[in-house]
């Protein structure tokens, strides 16, 4: 008899997994001036992954739009204005998954992303770790996700023509989410 081969894990770890905010981040990157890349992030986010015994999971996430951080404070103010996130009217960005597929470490999540009053389906790809007991006894999993959205679909329309052709800011924005999720108490 040959030794059993390890099966690729396709089931999500059951339970309720809540965000550890100090070890999680939501960031974005967009091309500007045609060739350079501009990056920023949101400081405050929340996420919960709920997985039933059957392995079916749902990921819900929210980001405080007012917690945007970029290097240039003038731009930070501009990003909060109606040209971009209009944080006075739309203080939160939201995500709700519609389907989660796991193949070993690989993770694909379909869901609905809401920015301002625009909701569109997105597919995010990334990785997931198995549960791991960390310092202090908490059981945690790590999830990373990445997707590219067209910001103009979400009402983030600002742009300006460059003097020598092209536009100041690209439409495609790469979103990167890194989540450390801890098993909820009592589970």
């Amino acid at each position: 008899m040959s030794a059993p081969t390890a099966e690729t894990q396709t089931k999500l770890p059951s339970g309720t997994w809540k965000l550890d905010p100090t070890h999680s981040s939501a960031s974005f990157a967009v091309k500007h001036m045609v060739v350079a890349t501009f990056r920023g992030s949101f400081e405050n986010l929340d996420a919960t992954l709920t997985v039933g015994e059957d392995g079916a999971g749902e990921l819900l996430g929210a980001v405080d739009a007012r917690s945007i951080v970029v290097k240039d404070e003038n731009l930070q103010a501009h990003l909060g204005s109606p040209d971009f996130f209009d944080t006075e009217r739309y203080p939160e960005l939201r995500f709700a998954s519609t389907a989660i597929r796991r193949d070993g470490e690989q993770l694909v999540i379909d869901g609905e992303l809401t920015i301002k009053d625009h909701t569109h389906p997105v597919e995010a790809r990334g990785t997931i770790t198995d549960p791991h007991e960390t310092l202090g006894g908490a059981v945690k999993i790590g999830v990373t996700l990445e997707t590219v959205i067209d910001r103009t679909q979400f009402g983030l329309n600002w742009n300006a023509p460059l003097p020598k052709g092209g536009f100041a800011l690209a439409d495609d924005v790469k979103l990167t989410i890194e989540l450390e999720l801890a098993q909820a108490d009592g589970e």
Binding site: M33, A36, D72, N74, L75, P163, A168
Partner: protein, 182 residues
């Protein structure tokens, strides 16, 4: 060969003054960059004062005339040229036929703390200088994120930007040689 460097910001430690100094370090031995320091003293342009312009205006026009080429480093205020710099260009564009700026080789570069490196101010300054009769190089050097744009030795930290600055200076000096020979 004498290059007059004009920083469009009046601030003592301005990023654009640093940008001019980064440019000065790239000039060949036969060329020197002289910093113009009188921008703040130039009064608002007034046609009534043209018959007897302020001494600051006379010094500005003389500095241009004595230079073989001009190198402007401009910040961007509200997507445009700083007022003091535009005012100086206006004085140096008069009287039109014999203005100090007429036929003078010029290049425009710029730095800003934002992500776009004063690119629109540079475009507007090129437009104004060309309208005043200067021979303006059709190139730009937008240095964004100016707080982090310079290395410890004063050079531009990004290799590509340093190269582009060298190319702009080479083109400016080339134009200045042609102009001097004409």
């Amino acid at each position: 060969m004498r290059v007059l460097g004009i920083a469009g910001s009046l601030r003592r430690d301005s990023h654009n003054l640093r940008l001019l100094r980064a440019a000065a370090a790239l000039l060949p031995p036969e060329a020197e960059l002289v910093e113009f320091t009188g921008l703040k003293a130039i009064p608002p342009f007034d046609e009534d004062d043209e018959s007897a312009p302020d001494v600051a205006v006379q010094q500005w026009r003389a500095a241009i005339s004595e230079a073989d080429a001009l190198l402007f480093a401009t910040p961007e205020y509200n997507h445009s040229i700083p007022g003091a710099l535009k005012n100086a260009v206006d004085w140096a564009s008069r009287p039109f036929a014999t203005a100090a700026l007429r036929n003078k080789p010029a290049a425009v570069i710029g730095a800003s703390t934002g992500m776009f490196g004063a690119v629109w101010a540079q475009a507007e300054l090129r437009k104004s200088l060309a309208a005043a009769g200067a021979r303006v190089i059709d190139r730009e050097l937008p240095v964004g994120g100016a707080d982090d744009a310079f290395a410890g030795d004063g050079a531009l930290a990004e290799h590509d930007q340093q190269l582009a600055l060298g190319e702009i200076l080479a083109e400016l000096l080339g134009d200045a040689r042609v102009h001097a020979a004409a």
